[in-house]
């Protein structure tokens, strides 16, 4: 390197500016956790029944279905995509899994069916989007309608009951006192965290969301990554559908209504940017818990369901507002 370059003094103003920007990021990172803690304290003050072990376990278990879906949707939103089909996919998986959970099939068969159906639907979404045929919003909107129709067709629009006891364990059982859905939720969370933070594909996901054009130029196989991301979301929606089916001991073509929006809400509340490139699994889990705490707390206080919807809506809008501000200040 030539001598005159080393002569350049670092610009102190600029560095200070940069450091400032960084500490702000830390605030943003933990801000959402603070919101959750604040809500918990608020609920604890407002109702004495909130802070009990049973109730806290309830909240996590109640949110595990949405939470699992949201964890799958997070990588999609990081790539600047969207998945509107997850709720309908839950219904489709629900009826198919239920029909294989009756009678004497071994437990492995319904689980396998959940995985196969989830991944297959995700692959269709991903392929349509990656090949550039349709924008994610439209492609998954179509799948949302089609998968719901398929669920109705498969089940004649009726619930499928008579599920085996072994299958019910997935949604109703406990291991060491922890409900199985919570364990699935946690495992899925850890696995996805590892994928996003410790693997090549994780880095690619952030890169594509940060700038798809640049990702192509940097030699990333963007199509392949997108297909995988949507397939993964399908897989998790499938697992969520299976857990829900077991929990309610019935395969229902009407289940999962609006789940996709709850999952997207949890993701966005958790700090994932709809503009792509930003988002964490920890944030999404906290986002799901925030929705769970609000639902649960309002139920405990006996707040009317009309008000519950308004409060939930306000929280989503506030979260997205903060998200858009965050991007604007950059």
């Amino acid at each position: 390197m030539s001598a005159n370059i080393e002569n350049i003094k670092q610009n102190p103003l600029n560095d200070k500016q940069l450091l400032k920007g960084r500490s702000k990021n830390v605030m943003q990172k933990y801000g959402i956790l603070l919101v959750l803690l604040f809500l918990c304290v608020l609920m604890w003050i407002l109702t004495p029944h909130f802070l009990t072990v049973t109730n806290l376990v309830n909240i996590v278990r109640q949110m595990s279905t949405i939470g699992i879906i949201a964890i799958g949707v997070t990588p999609i939103i990081i790539t600047k995509g969207i998945d509107l089909s997850s709720g309908s996919l839950v219904a489709l998986v629900s009826v198919i899994v239920a029909s294989f959970a009756q009678g004497n099939y071994p437990l492995l068969i319904p689980i396998l069916m959940a995985v196969v159906v989830g991944v297959a639907v995700g692959l269709i979404n991903g392929t349509i989007i990656a090949k550039g045929l349709l924008a994610p919003f439209i492609a998954t909107l179509g799948m949302m309608t089609a998968a719901r129709g398929a669920a109705m067709l498969y089940s004649d629009g009726r619930p499928i009951g008579g599920l085996s006891e072994s299958f019910k364990f997935i949604g109703q059982g406990t291991i060491l006192g922890i409900p199985v859905p919570v364990i699935i939720f946690a495992l899925v969370g850890v696995a996805t965290w590892i994928i996003l933070n410790k693997t090549k594909i994780g880095k690619y996901i952030y890169a594509i969301g940060g700038n798809e054009h640049a990702a192509v130029t940097a030699g990333i196989n963007v199509k392949k990554v997108l297909i995988l991301v949507y397939a993964y979301a399908g897989l998790l929606a499938g697992l969520a559908g299976m857990t829900l089916t077991s929990r309610i001991a019935s395969g229902q073509p009407q289940s999962g209504l609006m789940f996709e929006l709850d999952a997207i809400a949890a993701t966005v509340i958790g700090g994932t940017s709809l503009f792509g490139g930003i988002g964490t699994i920890g944030g999404t889990i906290i986002g799901a818990l925030i929705i769970g705490v609000v639902n649960n707390g309002l139920d405990l206080m006996g707040v009317s369901s009309y008000w519950q919807q308004i409060v939930k809506g306000a929280i989503i809008v506030a979260a997205v507002y903060v998200d858009s501000r965050k991007n604007r200040t950059k």
């Binding site: 005159n4 350049i8 640049a214 130029t217």
Partner: protein, 513 residues
Amino acid sequence: MENNYILEMENITKEFPGVKALDNVQLKVRKGTVHALMGENGAGKSTLMKIIIGMYTPDKGRMIFDGTEIKLTNIHDGLDRGISMIHQELSPIPEMTVAENIFLGREPTTFGGFIDRKKLTSMTLDLLKSIGINIDPNLKMKELSIANTQMIEIAKAISFNSKLVIMDEPTSAITEKEVAQLFRVIKSLKEKNVGIIYITHKMSELYEIADDISVFRDGKYIGTERAEKLNKEDLIKMMVGRELTQLFHKPKSKFGDVVLSVQNLSANGHFQDVSFEVRKGEILGFAGLMGSGRTEILEAIFGLRNPDQGEIHIHGKRVNIKSPQDAVKNHLGFLTEDRKLSGLFLPLGVGDNMITVHIDNYVTKGFLNKNRIKSDCLKKKEQLLIKTPSLEQAVANLSGGNQQKVLLARWLLKNPDILFLDEPTRGIDVGAKSEFYDLIFDLANQGKAIIVVSSEMVEILGLCDRIAVMHEGHLAGELTRKEATQELIMHLATGHSLDELDNKLEVMESILT
């Protein structure tokens, strides 16, 4: 009392939380002159401009406009008083016509409240004629070239009857010929006694157009001089606070084997029948006007677009590159033209931006080896002198020069044999430019084959060992560094062959008028 100045800014101070962006600065712009504003990125130029147009309010200081002290609270305030700005990034509405764009929100209306199209067209024609531009007011903006879009932005600025026009790097996206047209317009503005503040990074045009030059550094005012009294060396010293003995190195004459050889490459509608080769350690420049196919050739070689015919050989072997993945496998690297559009992952950290291409190397048993990533990235950060507090810092918060270095680091980690640099120093300041040139020479000395595309003549002439000139998709000619001159390159780039050099005078004229 007749006031000589259109704008006087006195003792302006502006603080943002934790940063003093402007520290007691001043600026005085004479009527009917071009006042150039120089300074590295982060010197405070754009903050001062935002104060002048009313986007920011200063914490301290006075602003005197046309003899009266004023306080602006918003941009409309500024526009009403006759202050307008042409931003570096143009923002036309592509589906609307030229006339509609210029008079957006101020359209003349008929009695019924409908837009008076006839009047709109005639108003636009008058306006354009007054600054000597000949563009059909009813064309849609999307049909115009970048240069003409720029002209329309200028017309729009003037249409507010502005007494002061601010131009922020107006030539960063246009070619030399179009610059000449812009300068004609500026001259006609001067004749109308309009004051112009002109921000640029380009030395050459500075001396052609500026009457006064003010220099800022680190939020402080350094000084103002008449352009004819300030020589280049002194100016650079004022800007970077140090001597800059020379921007470019001496040319080399010895090169290694041919690394990349392109034969008869064509992509219909973009370029035809292009053949060239680059050797180990050589820097090949591509010159030419905008749209002459320079960038498209690089994209075709790199697998970003499909060529219709032709052959590419790397290290003597024919290769078939269908995608950037293939290009990377074949030891190619590509620093693209627009770093924000196709280079940076803006929300991601510096480190994550660096490892994208080379990431396979850091995978052990499916997982990323964070320690090795960190140590390699830190090495590159030090080697390239990237100014960032940490590798986690979002790359969006870095200056243009540092962002460009991060992108270079991305490719250097992969260590390609052939490196394409498309407008490598666009929009970065003089200090960072010279650092970047040093890096490019270093890489060539290490034996990389480098292709540079640039619209800056000085850069092409200073950097390259050999210069290929494009004209409308054809390779118009090749010049060695010794024989190349600015005039010769323009001669080829405008479609003349070297045989017609007798008409050189004529050509010169066509360039200058």
